[in-house]
Amino acid sequence: MEYSASRERSEWDCIFINGEDEEGKWKLLLPELLQMIFEKVSLEERILCLPFICKSWQKASRSPGCWKSLDFRQLSRPEFSARFCRAYDIMNGRFSFSGLLKLLASFGEVAVQELVLRKADHITSDALAYALEKCPGVKIEWADEEEVEVNEVQLLNEDEDDYGGVDWGEDEDDVEEEDEVIEEEVVAEEEEEVEEEESEEEAEEEESEEEAEEEESEEVEEEESEEVEEEEGEEEVVVNHEEESEGLEDEDVEVPVNEDDNEVVNEDGEHHESNGTNVSYDDDNYDDEFDNDYDDYGDDDDNYDDNDDYE
């Protein structure tokens, strides 16, 4: 009934008698209805997508009712900030979850009832105060104490994990990676300790690698002994192996020796300890070695890395 009061008769006829006018149909969705729908759409899409559809959707998306629940857990961290900056022309690096909180608080105002924040987002007290002022009735929940821990663990793992760490760093957390590099020098000592613990885990992984290695080493040994002689001189003969070898030590000189060690020793614990002081699994060292040395190790190294990837 409200409909007929607020709409032109002819428009009604067109849509509701003939079933025509597909476009017009959607205009008839009352803002309240759109709001009901938007309210249930994930926070990420409410922010990044809905306002850009058309004017009426934009208007509906700005009504406070759409922002009753703000759950920051729904925002995937590196990805969301990048998308947000792109969508709203925010200079890269300017984005902060504090800013976002202020923005959403200004959208929802009194309507905001539930606010789930993550400590890891480093919300400033300034932004929090702003939100509390704008949204008096709001219930704030801090969701992520676990998540923070997880992140710390991840950071450690990135230092220690042979290959996983390298991958993550390159893909997403460039900034973090830089930090890590600095940290790694400091943490190096700690790492040694942790590595001893980890060596148990890695031992499992590497057992399989070693089996592969042993099999291969028999075949390759002869070739290698030849290669070894060449290695010292010809490190830049980069072959197209994408992986680095495990037992790499300081770059050039000692390489052949280590290779021998690996083959003889075949035990991770010892292997780690012997290497840990110098280099072991540090990302930056990897990179260096990656450039210079991976060619030296031929087929053995491929096997290592294949194993790691699948596990």
């Binding site: 009604w12 509701f16 008698i17 003939n18 959607w26 899409e45 058309c54 934009q58 800013g99 976002l100």
Partner: protein, 177 residues
């Protein structure tokens, strides 16, 4: 339920002129109709001005199901949870083949007739259709036209920048808006 002589029938006329005859209990699932019926206009044909016949058919299906569920649960003492689950499954199935255009009309109809359950089904369906899509995909799916001028779109992009500025001037300007 069909054998009773007391069953009061109600006639509904869709916007395109088709007349449906349904039991009163079915019609009363729609709160709007319930109100009308309680104000006693039982014999007249009730015009549903914004719902076309194919949509009204669907709506009536829904209402019939609701009546069936409530009557069966009252006679057989089913535990509530189970009927709740069944209801959910049925609701999903009910919305399964609904395309975006029908969905829109269903939303309008259930809103107009004030059928909360059906409205929620429609809303959930639409949310699931929107989720994870790019704006253009959504426009295509729902036949929505991007009616922003480039300037207006630019404005949307820029109007949120204040939150990310350190400059207090921006804060003031935005809060005074």
């Amino acid at each position: 339920m069909s054998e009773s002589t007391e069953k009061k029938m109600v006639r509904l006329r869709s916007s395109d002129g088709e007349v449906f005859e349904v039991e009163e209990s079915v019609a009363k699932v729609a709160k709007t109709l319930q109100d009308m019926l309680e104000e006693d206009c039982a014999d007249a044909v009730i015009p549903i001005t914004c719902v076309r016949a194919p949509i009204l058919t669907k709506v009536i299906d829904y209402c019939k199901d609701q009546v069936m569920i409530s009557s069966s649960s009252s006679t057989t003492n089913n535990p509530n949870e189970r009927t709740e689950q069944e209801r959910k499954a049925w609701g999903q199935k009910f919305m399964e083949g609904v395309d975006s255009s029908t969905l829109c009309e269903l939303l309008v109809a259930s809103n107009f007739l004030n059928i909360e359950g059906l409205l929620n089904l429609g809303v959930d369906k639409m949310v699931s259709m929107i989720q994870g899509k790019y704006p253009q995909e959504i426009r295509d799916m729902f036949n929505v036209v991007n009616d922003f001028t480039p300037e207006e779109e630019e404005e949307i992009r820029n109007q949120n920048a204040w939150a990310f500025e350190r400059d207090p001037y921006y804060k003031k300007r935005s809060s005074s808006k």
